[in-house]
């Protein structure tokens, strides 16, 4: 390999600390009733944590453009999975449907 980025230990420790803090916030947020926003907040924090892991622990921040493109494309396919599945779940209330026998 032509060049390998070596991050200082302090970077890893800072990211680790950030992940721990975000985990604590996730637990804390679970005790606050935010209604429909509870899962959104939890997912947002999880997304932020995943981004930190991908950028720093997996060295994507220092990788080639092809690697970055690969990561973005993977997320694009995950987005397809979520968006099209939600296409079903989000429209389930649209029909005025009464189950048989009720």
């Amino acid at each position: 390999m032509s060049s390998v980025h070596v991050s200082p230990l302090s970077t890893y420790l800072s990211i680790f600390a950030a992940l721990m803090v975000l985990s604590a916030i996730t637990v804390g947020a679970a005790f606050v009733n935010l209604g429909a926003f509870n899962p959104i907040v939890a997912m947002a924090i999880a997304g932020l944590k995943a981004t930190l892991v991908i950028l720093y622990f997996m060295h994507v921040k220092y990788s080639s453009r092809l690697t970055k493109l690969t990561v973005v494309l993977s997320l694009f396919f995950v987005a397809i999975l979520f968006a099209e599945t939600l296409m079903d779940y989000a429209t389930r209330g649209w029909l005025n449907y009464t189950p048989m026998g009720q």
Binding site: S74, E84, T85, D88, L95
Partner: protein, 540 residues
């Protein structure tokens, strides 16, 4: 012309004994290991098909108990899909051919390549254990809630086998992507690559992106059974339809894992036996990528009657039609390649002619099923069974067999019987149509799939189908016999018996372990079938 001589030094003679095979890092030997293992699974899966067709020759369920019949069609599906079709072309032909096609000595990660075979074998052993322990009856789709809550059969070992073998698929895909990006010979840019390589690149993307989703879905079923997680259980806030979304997100693209590499094989054979460059090369190349991408956005056409909303169903129906476009691009371009070509009728090409008819019928009947209204009538009938067999067997296996016949002289250095191979290609085509065409009619008439009994009026068509299966079975057994015979008694093939272009034909047959003595530098255009090239190729 000189009589070709079988080369004393080649990858087959480089090391003897079982150890030299089990510890090999040579992509060609690993391809042979895969060839042997997937063939074994193919015939095991075939045995279950024999059981199914025997049972269905009579309307009464007089051969098996219903539970046994459920296990037969489940194991037929699991083995054929996960242990034969998915690895078939990529793991055997892709492994063998991608390095020489890109002018490389091996794949990017030879050890990982061997590891992928071992992982495949471990996955296979889990599934074999499930068979010996009494089988599994969920269908190859493992639908919840039955698989998670009700079935008392060996769901966990079977699912684990599929889960493990998935990693083999991911590693093979990863290896191909890196090899195609990083190991091309100098001057071999993307638009000089054979379409076989493009097809494998597209396939690898699906393997790497899709397989983890089905793997984690299977883990969820396991967690559901073992710990009662409730992800798919409505009583705990879960949803069984979610399983189908996750399962088909992989398993619909998985159909393209099976068919795309076969489409790559077809491109190679069509151009060789019509002595022409593929018409619209770049369109065919990009259509592979388009199929891979479109394949990911259409999955819920398997779920039109599963309880998804009509709004989602409408969008999925519309999107499903989009896959027809790149598929048609390929078929039209192959037809245009044949037009005014110098056609011949050797066995590989006979498989391709057969493929055209079967893939066309398979593809067009897919449109019936993508249409919301007709799908409600046809869903879970034999029409669906016939449709996917036309694609997965008529398309993928015809391509695989065509490829095996095309590159067999390269793989082993000897020719097989031209007469028997043509007979086999014809038997497969006739047997296949006789087996599966009546199933379209049965499905249209309303015969549901996965039942071991049926009304008397369906018997004639079912007997026709079972008779066709016998012919098809003969068509599949014949190649085993004459290919094995050719290993010892076949004529020496020479480096390029078909006069084909392509870097792999510049190697000796069978190739050296390193494929090339020197890195190829004078890279030709893809499918450069000028008279000069043909003349020189024949002289090699």
């Amino acid at each position: 012309m000189e009589t070709p001589v079988y080369p004393a030094q080649n990858y087959l003679s480089n090391g003897h004994g079982l150890k030299s095979w089990l510890l090999t890092k040579d992509h060609k030997r690993i391809a042979i290991l895969y060839l042997i293992s997937i063939s074994a699974f193919f015939f095991l899966g075939g045995l279950f098909a024999v059981g199914i067709r025997l049972e269905l020759t009579t309307p009464q369920g007089d051969l098996f108990q219903p539970d046994t019949y459920n296990k037969f069609f489940t194991l037929h599906g699991v083995i054929m899909v996960f242990f034969f079709l998915i690895p078939s072309v990529p793991a055997v032909l892709g492994n063998f051919l991608i390095p020489p096609m890109v002018g490389a000595k091996d794949l990017a990660f030879p050890r990982i390549n061997l590891l992928s075979w071992y992982i495949y074998v471990v996955g296979g052993i889990f599934t074999l254990f499930a068979i010996v322990a009494g089988g599994v009856d969920t269908g190859w789709t493992f639908y919840t809630p039955y698989s998670a809550a009700s079935s008392s059969t060996n769901v966990v070992p079977t699912a684990l086998g599929v889960f493990i073998s998935g990693f083999s698929s991911i590693l093979t895909g990863l290896n191909f992507i890196v090899t195609i990006h990083r190991m091309r010979a100098p001057g071999l840019h993307w638009f000089k690559l054979p379409l076989f390589v493009w097809a494998h690149y597209a396939t690898s993307l699906i393997q790497v992106l899709g397989t983890p989703v089905v793997a984690i879905t299977i883990v969820m079923v396991f967690a559901e059974r073992a710990f009662g997680f409730g992800i798919f259980d409505p009583q705990r806030g879960g949803d069984p339809v979610l399983f189908q979304h996750l399962f088909w997100f992989y398993s619909h693209p998985a159909v393209y894992i099976m068919i795309l590499p076969a489409l790559g094989v077809i491109s190679e054979i069509v151009s060789t036996f019509s002595r022409k460059r593929i018409f619209g090369y770049s369109f065919v190349a990009f259509s592979s990528l388009a199929i891979a991408v479109f394949g990911f956005i259409v999955w819920a056409h398997h779920m039109f009657v599963s309880g998804i909303t009509v709004y989602a169903a409408m969008v999925f129906s519309f999107l499903s039609f989009s896959v027809a476009i790149p598929s048609a691009v390929k078929v039209f371009n192959w037809s245009a390649t044949l037009h005014r070509g110098s056609l011949s009728f050797e066995a590989p090409m006979l498989y391709v002619y057969g493929f055209f008819g079967l893939f066309l019928i398979g593809g067009l009947t897919g449109l019936f099923l993508a249409t919301l209204g007709t799908d409600v009538h046809l869903h879970d009938t034999y029409f669906v069974v016939a449709h996917f067999h036309y694609i997965m067997v008529g398309g993928a296996i015809m391509g695989y067999l065509g490829g095996i016949h095309f590159w067999w002289p390269k793989m082993v250095g000897r020719m097989y019987s031209e007469f028997w191979s043509r007979i086999s290609a014809i038997l497969v085509f006739v047997g296949f149509n006789l087996t599966f065409f009546p199933q379209f009619v049965l499905g249209y008439m309303g015969m549901p799939r996965r039942y071991h009994m049926y009304p008397d009026e369906f018997q004639v068509l079912n007997v026709l189908s079972s008779g066709g299966a016998a012919v098809l079975g003969l068509g599949y057994i014949l190649p085993v016999l004459y290919l094995l015979y050719s290993l010892k008694y076949g004529e020496v093939a020479g480096n390029n018996p078909w006069g084909a272009s392509g870097l792999e034909w510049r190697t000796q047959s069978p190739p050296l372990t390193e494929n090339f003595l020197e890195v190829p530098t004078d890279i030709p255009e893809a499918y450069e079938y000028t008279p000069k090239v043909i003349r020189e190729a024949k002289l090699v």
